[in-house]
Each structure stands twice: as C-alpha cells, then as structure tokens.
C-alpha cells in the first residue's frame, strides 16, 4: 500500500498526458481500497501494532524498515488515502499543465505521508516526515498562482512563499533529526536503537529527555502550525494550488499532532509532564489567535488556514491533557478536521471560479442558482464549526473533557474558541453564498463530477456524525497504551489550577 501511489505516479509519467491523471487516480483508489481493508480487518481489541513489517535497512546505523498500523494511525491512514483520492480525482477532472510531473509528485507525497503514519522506526518516521515536504515544495511552487496579497502589501509570489515554507518547516524537522539520532544513540549505548517500541521502555534519562523533547516539539509545532511559528502559513496558503492545499492542510498538519502522540508522549514521558503547561498554553494561544485571525481574514483560503491553526490547537490541547479521553478526542478530531477541510478547499475552488478570487467580501448570493452546492457547503460549514451532532463536536467535547478534568481553566478558555468558530465559519458561508449578488459574481451550480467528489466527502462527514464510535472504538486501546506512562495524572499541578472547581 505504501508504495502504490508512488508507483502510480511513475506510471502517470509514462502514459500519455491525457491519462496521467487517471493512472494516478487508479493508484490512489487502490491505496484507498487497501486502507479500507485495513480498517475492516482491524482488531479493535488489541492495542499493539498490526500488519507489521520489519526489515533491516541500514544496520550500521541501526535503522530498520519497520511499518505497521495501530488504532491511532489506522484512521489517519484512511484519511490520507481518502483525501488524496479526492484531490487526485479533482485534479484529473481539470487537468493541470505538465500533468505527468504533477501527478508523480502527488503520488510521491502520498507515499511519504503514509510512510510517516506507518513508520514504527524513529528515523524512518523522520525520513518520511522530511520527504513529505519535497513534493509539496514543487507542487506549491510550480503550480501555485500569484496572490494579490493582503491590502497594503505587494502580491505574494509562489517561489519565495514556498521557499519560506520549506525552510521554516525544515528548521523544525532537521532539529528533530538530531533529536531522533540523539535519542537513539543515548538510549542504546554502543549500538543505537531507533525502534519506537524499544525506545518506549524509558531508556532515556530525564535530562536528555528535556532537550530532545524540544527538538521534536519544534518540528511538530511548526508543522501544525502552532501559534507564533505559523509565519510560513499565510503566504503558503495564499499561493498554493487548492487541490494540493486541500490534502496539505488536511493531512500534513495532522502528522505533527500524530507525532506528538506517537513519539513524544511515549518516548519522553517525564519531559512531557514537565512541559505540559507550556505546550497547553501554546495550544490555547493557537486556538484563540487562530479563531480571531480567522474572522478578520478576507481571503477564504486564510480563513480555512487560520481555522486549522485553531483546530490543531484543540488537538494539541487534547493530546497534552495526557488523558485517554483527551487523546481519543484528538485522534477523532484529526480525522474530522481532515475530512472537513478537503471539501472546504474544493468548494473554495468553486467559489474562486465563480467570483474570480478568494476574497469573501467580494462574493455573495452564490447560493441563488446553486442549491446543491449551497447545501453541501452548509453541511461542511456546520461540521467546521463543530456543531453538536457532528463528529467534530464529539472530538472537541472529548478534548475539552480531557483538559477539563486535568486543568479546568484551560478548558474554560478553550470554550471561547468554540464560540468564535461558529462566527468565522458562518461568516465565510454567508459572505459567499448569501446576501445580494455583487457584479461580476455568477451563481452557477457545480458540475456533477465535482458534486460527486464533494458529495462523497460530505457523506463521510455525515456518516461519522451519526456513528463516531467507529473511530473511537478502534483508537481507544492504542491510545491507552500510548498514555500508559501517565496513568496517575500529576495531581498537585491539577489542584493548583483548579480554581473555580472544588
């Protein structure tokens, strides 16, 4: 499954340009199919790794080729395949220029992402983590489009924006490389060990945990992106080609959160406990700041972008509650957010086509002749603002619950984010679809193929809304195992912060 998309990508290079897209789509579809199989015959009872692969890769360095899924990565893998399938189909419908390279890169990207989710070896994880960036660099850069930029500043050109993004994100991930190696070397004196399973056995002294923790945190926080290190996000989002951006913000941001859950918590438990508050504060800042920014943006892309800053804030919050419910919430929330952001981006494509730009203040009344589109968009919006009854709400509720039981104040403040979310999401919807139709905006229904893609995704949203348990059931065990080292939450700190409580 891992290498399928890449193979398809290569195939796409070989076949004539007309079919390139469909070849890639085929690969993506097969991957999706495998992912579904994976889910169906997943044994939700056990916490351990399933379908494991373990080959020796670079013995001198102690790097092994270890793959496998557990309850946490399972649905992220599925999400990845779904998102990519949608994006590739979408691109296949409206073929981009130089399709061969385009689809090859997309395939490469999917492979890398899947690799990151499947990797059970620390260095392998890091490798895929960095590898993910390369295709996106080219995709953003060569297929991106110039953006008018925010008022008072010049237009944003693709090349510099993407370079900024890559350098920024690499700052983190390269430090992580050092951190990973250090962890491995320090853990296994003499022969380095990088297998996560072994590293989990607390081979690291607290002292070394502390600095390595930050090396990893840097990588993940930047990738998410979290508050204060999201500087690369606006420009990148402005210029990126939307179908690609869809998968990017749907999946890649999750890798960061996933990394916290998969690597940081189990391998650096003491450090995690020591720095819990700091990370929680960062997460909180991301929520509030992201929300506030989201409802002042005029660019639809950036509304989406900042909303995901806020969402990722929630996820981080849940993870660092260091409680099963919080982490469960984080996992399901990752899936939800991904499955919501993809259709949102695709809809923004449609909006841009109808209003000739992504400036929401210049849109309006598009719902008039496009009821189906409006309906789909409405569902997406509601899911985005996590209306109770959507799976997103379940996620947020679990997260809030987890945090609440640990650190009540954080939960109360985070709740503000929920309110703001309702505002910016609705604002986006209304500005685009409702009110009078300005000049130069046409209200046109979406084509059936586009409708099929978005509709499919929306169907996923609805299905999850009715039965979120399908995710929770499978993730629960693994989550508990990841958090096994935090069985007894640090009471003293909790007692301090529980002002209004008891």
């Amino acid at each position: 499954m891992l290498w399928l998309p890449l193979a398809a990508g290569l195939l796409a290079c070989l076949v004539p340009r007309r079919f390139a897209g469909w070849a890639a789509a085929l690969g993506a579809f097969l991957a999706l199919d495998l992912a579904i199989r994976l889910v169906t015959d997943f044994d939700s009872g056990s916490a351990g790794i399933q379908h494991a692969v373990d080959e020796s890769w670079i013995p001198e360095l102690g790097v092994r080729y270890q793959l496998g899924v557990d309850g946490i990565s399972l649905f992220l893998v599925l999400l990845t395949t779904v998102a990519w399938f949608a994006a590739i189909l979408w691109s296949a419908i409206r073929t981009p220029e130089r399709p061969k390279t385009y689809f090859f890169l997309l395939g490469l990207a999917e492979t890398a992402t899947l690799g990151a989710f499947l990797a059970q070896d620390l260095l392998l994880f890091v490798l895929f983590f960095d590898l993910m960036l390369i295709p996106f660099y080219f995709l953003f850069g060569s297929w991106g489009s110039e953006h008018p930029g925010r008022e008072g500043e010049g237009p944003v050109r693709p090349a510099p924006a993407t370079i900024k993004m890559i350098v920024y994100t690499l700052v983190g991930s390269l430090l992580m490389l050092v951190g990973a190696i250090a962890a491995g070397v320090i853990a296994g004196d003499g022969t380095p060990v990088f297998s996560m399973a072994e590293l989990r056995e607390g081979l690291l002294s607290e002292g070394s945990q502390h600095w390595i923790f930050w090396f990893f945190a840097a990588a993940f926080l930047v990738k998410m992106p979290a508050f204060l290190v999201h500087g690369w996000m606006p420009d990148a989002y402005r210029v990126a080609p939307l179908p690609v951006l869809a998968v990017f913000s749907a999946v890649l941001s999750k890798v960061g959160a996933y990394g916290f859950l998969r690597v940081v918590l189990p391998i650096f438990p003491e450090a995690t406990v020591d720095f819990q508050e700091i990370v929680l504060v960062i997460a909180l800042a991301s929520i509030l700041y992201g929300s506030v920014m989201a409802f002042t943006q005029t660019s639809a892309r950036l509304v989406a972008g900042y909303s995901s800053v806020a969402q990722l804030g929630f996820i981080t919050l849940g993870i660092f509650a260091l409680r099963p419910d919080g982490a469960d919430g984080a996992v399901i929330q990752m899936v939800n957010h991904g499955i919501v952001i993809v259709p949102l981006m695709l809809i923004i494509v449609l909006l841009a086509e109808r209003s000739g730009g992504d400036d929401v203040t210049k849109m309006g009344g598009i719902a008039m002749r496009a009821p189906v589109m409006a309906a789909l968009f409405l569902v997406v919006t509601m899911a985005l603002l996590a209306i109770p009854g959507s799976a997103n709400f379940v996620g947020e509720f679990y997260i809030l619950n987890g945090v609440f039981q640990e650190k009540i104040v954080f939960a109360l403040i985070a709740a503000l984010g929920v309110i703001m979310a309702s505002y910016y999401a609705l604002r986006l919807f209304q500005h685009a679809m409702h009110n009078r139709k300005p000049e130069g905006v046409e209200s046109r229904e979406l084509g059936w193929r586009e409708g099929a893609i978005i509709g499919g995704l929306v169907a996923c949203i609805v299905a999850l809304a009715f039965y979120p348990q399908v995710v929770l059931k499978r993730s629960d065990e693994s989550v508990n195992e990841q958090l096994s080292s935090f069985e007894q939450p640090s009471e003293p700190t909790a007692a301090v912060t529980e002002g209004p409580g008891k």
Partner: protein, 668 residues
C-alpha cells in the same frame, strides 16, 4: 409497541420527511413537498399520542422509560449512548410540539405557496421539528445538547430563509451565535456534571445529584447557572434575548413555530427537566426566577412602543416565557408547563393571524399603517382578537388559568417570592394593554387603503421591498414570493387557525382549580422526586389569584380601549410627554448597543489589531528578522571576499596565527 419505540418513531418521521423533501427537491411537483412535510409531522403527532397511551399504562412511579439504540461515542472513560428518555414530561412536550407544528405546516402550505423556496422551506421546517423532538426525547445530556444545537441551526436556516435579505442573514447570524453561547454553557455544564457525577445519562444524573451534592453547594450552583445560560440563550431571556426580535425576519410561519410555540420554550423544558439539580442549587433556581421576572417586565415595556406587528408579538413571547421561566424557577412546574401549552396555542394563533394581515398589507408590518380590517377580514380579525384575549388572560380563556396559576404559586411559596407575584401582576397589566393595542389598532378605526382593496375583493400588490430597510427586492429565489395569501381565501390556513383558536379559548379548562388537574397529574411521573411539586396552593388561594388576575386583565383591556378606541392620538401625546422613556423603550433598553459595545467591538478590534499589527510585526518579524540577519551576514562575507588576492592571504595568515595561538595556549 412500547413507548420508547414510539419515541424513536416520533424522531424518525420528521427526519425522514426532511430528507425526502431535501433529496427529492427537484422531483416534487407543486405543493407536494408541503403535504409530505405536514404528513410527516402529523404521523409524529400520532406516535406521540401512541406513546402517551403506552405510558399511561405504566404505574405513576415508573413512567420514565429509556431505550438505547447503539453506542454513540464511548471511549476513554466516557460513555455516550444513542438513547431516548420517554417520560410524561417529554411526551407532553412532544404532544404540544408535534400538534402545533402540524397545524403550522398546514398553514404554511398556503402561506408559502408562491415562494420560490417552497421545498427548501419545508425541508428546513421538518428538520427543525426533528431536532426539537430530539432535544425533548434525548436520554442523555450530550444528545440533548445535540438536539439543542440542531434546533439552533434550524432556526438559523429559517431566519435567514430569505437569504438575499441582508437584514435576514444578519439576524440569522446573530441568533446562531447567541445560541452557540448557550450551547457552550451547556457543554461546560456537562463537563462539570461528568466530573462530579461521572455520567451523562439523565436519569443517573438525577439519581446521583442529591447524593453527591449538599444544598447550595458551589459546584451545583455553578452547574445550575451554566444550564441557565443555555436556557436563557434559547428562550430569549435577558440578557441573551436580543436575537428574538430580529428573528422576525423569517417568514411568519417560522415565527409562529419556532419563536412562539416551540423552540423558545426549550429553556423552560431544560430547567424543568433538571429540576433535581435546581432544587439542590436553590440559588440558581432563584436566579432563574429573577431572570424570568426581569425578562417579562422588560419585554412587556418594550412591547408597548414597538410598531412592527411581528416584533410586538415577539416581545410578548419573551415576556410570556419570562412567566414560564419564573414558574419553573420558583417550582411551579405543572403551572409553568400548563402555561407553556396554552401559550403555544394562542401565540401561534396570533402569529398566524398577523401573517394573514401582513399578507393583506403586502408584507408591510408597521401597525401605524394598519387599521379597520374588521370588515375586510372577519375571520382573521376574529382569530386575532381571540389570541389577544388569551394573551391578555381574559377570564375564562386558556391564558387566564395558566398564567394566574403561576402567580398564585408564587404567592403561596411565601418568603420573598411574593415579589414575583407582584411583578407578575404588573406584567399582566402591561400584557393586557399591549395585547389590545394590537387588537384595536388592527381591527377598528377607519379602514386603510389595503383594507379597502381586500373589501373590494383583491389583495393589494405594492412593490416588493424589505419592511425593515425599505430597499427594493425582486421576488426571485431568496426573497419573499410575488403573491400574498390571507386566511380568508386559503382553507388550510383557515383550518389551522380555527383549531388553534379553539385551543386558545378552551385549553385552559383542562386544569381549573378545584375542578380538574389533568396536566398536573400527568406530569407527576416526571416530578415525583420533586419536593416542591406537590405542595400546591389551596383552591381558595388559586381562586383568589384568578380573581385578581381577571380584574387586572380587564383593567388593561380597558386602558387600551380608552386610548385606542375613544381617544385615538392620546398615545402620541403620551409619547411626547415622556419622550425620554419612550426613546429608551423604543431602543429596547439599548441591549443591542451594550452587547455590541462590550463584546463585539472589542473582539473585532482585537482581531483587526492582531491582523494588522501582531501578524505583520511579530509573526512576520520572526521571519523577516532571521532573513535580514542572514542577508547582513551574507553581505559581510561578500565584502570580505573582496577579490584582493593579498586580502585572502591576509585572512589565511590571520587564521593561521589564531590557530597557532590556540595550540600554544591549549598545549601548555
């Protein structure tokens, strides 16, 4: 079939109806959508009756039945089922909701015929009913919150139904956001409850609450207050009420359904539902009562001066719900729910009548432009007046019994609760007055042109425009349809209105002090654990209350008669005399402005600041700074790379000297 199955069916029909209409929107011919919708709700109503029958078989003490369909979300120590709780309270509410809804659907079939959004309208309407019922039947707190939020969403969708009206969309946004505030209140309450009681299941909560909490324990009160936030937001109680008047932007049936009969009463239901908590957290209960009181007075005063027909009714709704909240706050549960029922009847009726008149007025809503319809539209006017009588608690009408029962209980409760009684009676006076302000202004006086046209046999057609702003509109999708419909010409409207009129007149008789107490006995199944439920005022006290009530309402009606029938124009003079007060009331006590000033402005301001300053200078500064540093260093290196061969040699030797120096120092 047992009651819970009916419960599920009650939920199933509206949902199905909504989905069918939504998916088949293109296929359905003419009014079919309307009939489907109405039918779905009708079936739901029948199921509710079925549930009622079933539940009556059970002995009073175990009339609380739950049934779980599947695990909704259970992990990490939380356990959330997809389950329903069918008990007298929920069944009672379901009956009211489905009953009134059926009629309103029926009414809408005609009222909305000529609107381009006909199908969309019914799909929304059914969805709304579904969510309302979900809210009522929910077996656990989370599901209740879900229903709660869905209701909010549905009301948003319906308020901004005419989505190309700026005012409508704005109002929708406002309503939704305020509702979300309420949701969050509930969510946090849920979190507290889970921490303290470790469960979300309603029955378990009610079981454990008394065990876990001592009376007026801090946490309990906190929970109570958080629940109140939710209730206030949904039931338009001060200070979260501002959305309700604006919500009148929606089509009139929507106002009738959501903003009079059903949704706004959710708050009352919530408080009643959580009475075990509130009876422990007495402070919270009292706060609720005070909120109710404040709301009923404020709303009533505003209703005196507003000129928009629908808004007057809206404010009266607020104030009536104020009564109910006050009722459940002080523990007069049966009375409150009794009033809830009667209010549903007469308020829906009022709105329908208003809708019919607005239709005749070609969508204009200002009562100053109205008058003399009594000969033009006898039926409508008759129903309108019936509604007004009930609202004014005219002796014998439904409103009479229910409202005064609450007040009697307040008196009976003793302590400082007499305050509520007094306030209630003052409110009653105002209510009676403004009720007939509507009645007389619309019905009597000399006919306005529109009225004449109707008499002449056709409905006037003004240019379509937004009643609020007066801007021009086409009648295409997203704006009101080209034609207007009045009860006189549409039998579905007629039926719906007459049924409600009947209810408004005689529904009070189900619970006449000393004679019968149907509702009280029925609801007992849900309130058996309540301490307050069963100590009721004596019949004598009740009758005394009724006496006072009747006098007051007659007084109010009398005033209205004097001011509007005998000496028209007096009101204008009064307004000029007390210009200050008048302005204050006209601006609705400046609540909007206050909220805008305290919350909206700061938030937006911060946002703008963050966007223009923080983002640019701090976040980008991080980037720009590093880039600048790199550039500077780069420049330095390139200057050093001067191209002067001897310069290179110099640096080389310099480096060598440094290295040698280090070695000499390190070595020795």
């Amino acid at each position: 079939m047992d009651a819970t199955t009916y419960g599920w069916l009650i939920l199933a029909f509206p949902l199905a109806g909504s989905m069918v209409i939504a998916l088949g929107w293109r296929a359905l011919p003419g009014r079919a959508a309307g009939w489907i919708g109405t039918g779905a709700i009708g079936l739901a109503f029948l199921c509710a009756i079925g549930a009622l029958v079933q539940i009556l078989d059970h002995p009073v003490e175990d009339r609380q039945l739950t049934n779980s369909l599947y695990d909704y979300a259970s992990a990490g120590g939380l356990d959330i089922q997809m389950n329903v709780l069918v008990d007298p309270l929920s069944v009672f509410m379901c009956l009211v909701v489905t009953g009134v809804s059926t009629l309103i659907h029926l009414y809408s079939i005609s009222y909305m015929t000529s609107d381009d959004g006909f199908r969309r309208f019914f799909s929304y309407l059914n969805f709304f009913v579904f969510s309302m019922l979900l809210l009522l039947l929910a077996g656990n707190l989370i599901l209740l919150i879900v229903g709660w939020a869905f209701v909010g969403f549905a009301s948003y969708a319906l308020i901004s139904f005419w989505f190309r009206r700026g005012t409508a969309t704005g109002a929708g946004m406002k309503a939704f956001v305020i509702n979300v505030v309420g949701d969050v209140g509930l969510v946090i309450a849920a979190l507290f409850i889970f921490r303290e009681l470790g469960t979300f299941d309603l029955l378990q909560i009610f079981e454990r609450a008394p065990e876990e909490f001592t009376t007026n324990e801090g946490v309990a009160v906190a929970i109570g207050c958080l629940l109140l936030v939710g209730a206030a937001a949904k039931s338009a109680q001060v200070p979260l009420h501002t959305w309700l008047p604006d919500a009148m932007e929606g089509p009139t049936p929507v106002s009738a359904l959501i903003h009079a009969a059903t949704m706004v009463t959710a708050g009352v239901y919530l408080i009643g539902r959580f009475h075990p908590v509130f009876e422990i957290a007495l402070t919270a209960a009292d706060i609720a009562a005070f909120i109710g009181l404040a709301t009923l007075l404020i709303a009533a005063t505003i209703a005196l001066v507003v000129t928009d027909l629908k808004r007057i009714i809206a404010y009266s709704t607020m104030s009536q719900i104020g009564y109910m909240v006050m009722g459940v706050g002080i523990g007069a549960y049966s009375a409150a729910f009794f009033h809830l029922m009667t209010h549903a009847f007469f308020k829906a009726l009022l709105f329908m009548a208003a809708g019919s008149i607005i239709g005749a007025m070609a969508n204009r809503q200002n009562i100053d432009l109205m008058g003399g319809f009594r000969r033009a539209m006898p039926f409508t006017v008759a129903t309108l007046l019936i509604g007004c009588l009930a609202l004014a608690a005219f002796p014998g009408t439904s409103g009479f019994f229910s409202k005064d029962e609450i007040l009697a209980f307040a008196e009976h409760r003793g302590g400082f609760y007499w305050v509520f009684a007094i306030g209630g009676y003052i409110g009653a006076l105002l209510t009676a007055f403004y009720a007939f302000r509507i009645g007389f202004r619309v019905a009597y006086g000399d006919p306005v042109p529109e009225a004449r046209e109707v008499e002449a046999g056709h409905i006037s057609h003004a240019e379509p425009e937004n009643p609020a702003t007066g801007e021009r509109e086409d009648t295409d999708i997203g704006f009101p349809g080209p034609e207007h419909h009045i009860a006189e010409r549409e039998w579905p409207m007629k039926i719906a209105m007459s049924v409600l009129a009947f209810g408004a007149l005689f529904a009070g008789l189900v619970q006449v002090p000393g004679v019968d107490a149907v509702i009280e006995h029925f609801l007992e199944g849900s309130f058996e654990d309540s301490t307050l439920y069963n100590d009721l005022p004596s019949n004598a006290a009740e009758w005394r209350g009724l006496g006072v009530g009747s006098i007051i309402s007659l007084l109010g009606i009398g005033f209205a008669a004097v001011l509007y029938l005998q000496r028209p124009g007096t009101t204008k003079r009064l307004a000029e005399r007390f210009a200050g007060i008048h302005k204050f009331l006209e601006n609705k006590w400046y609540f909007d402005e206050a909220i805008d000033f305290l919350i909206v402005r700061p938030a937006l301001g911060f946002g703008r600041w963050a966007n223009s300053v923080f983002e640019r200078y701090v976040v980008n500064g991080l980037v720009v700074g590093t880039v600048g540093a790199a550039k500077g260093a780069n420049a330095a290196v390139r200057v050093a790379q001067s191209g002067y061969l001897r310069g290179y040699a110099l640096l080389l030797v310099l480096g060598f000297c440094g290295l040698a120096l280090y070695f000499l120092i390190a070595g020795s």
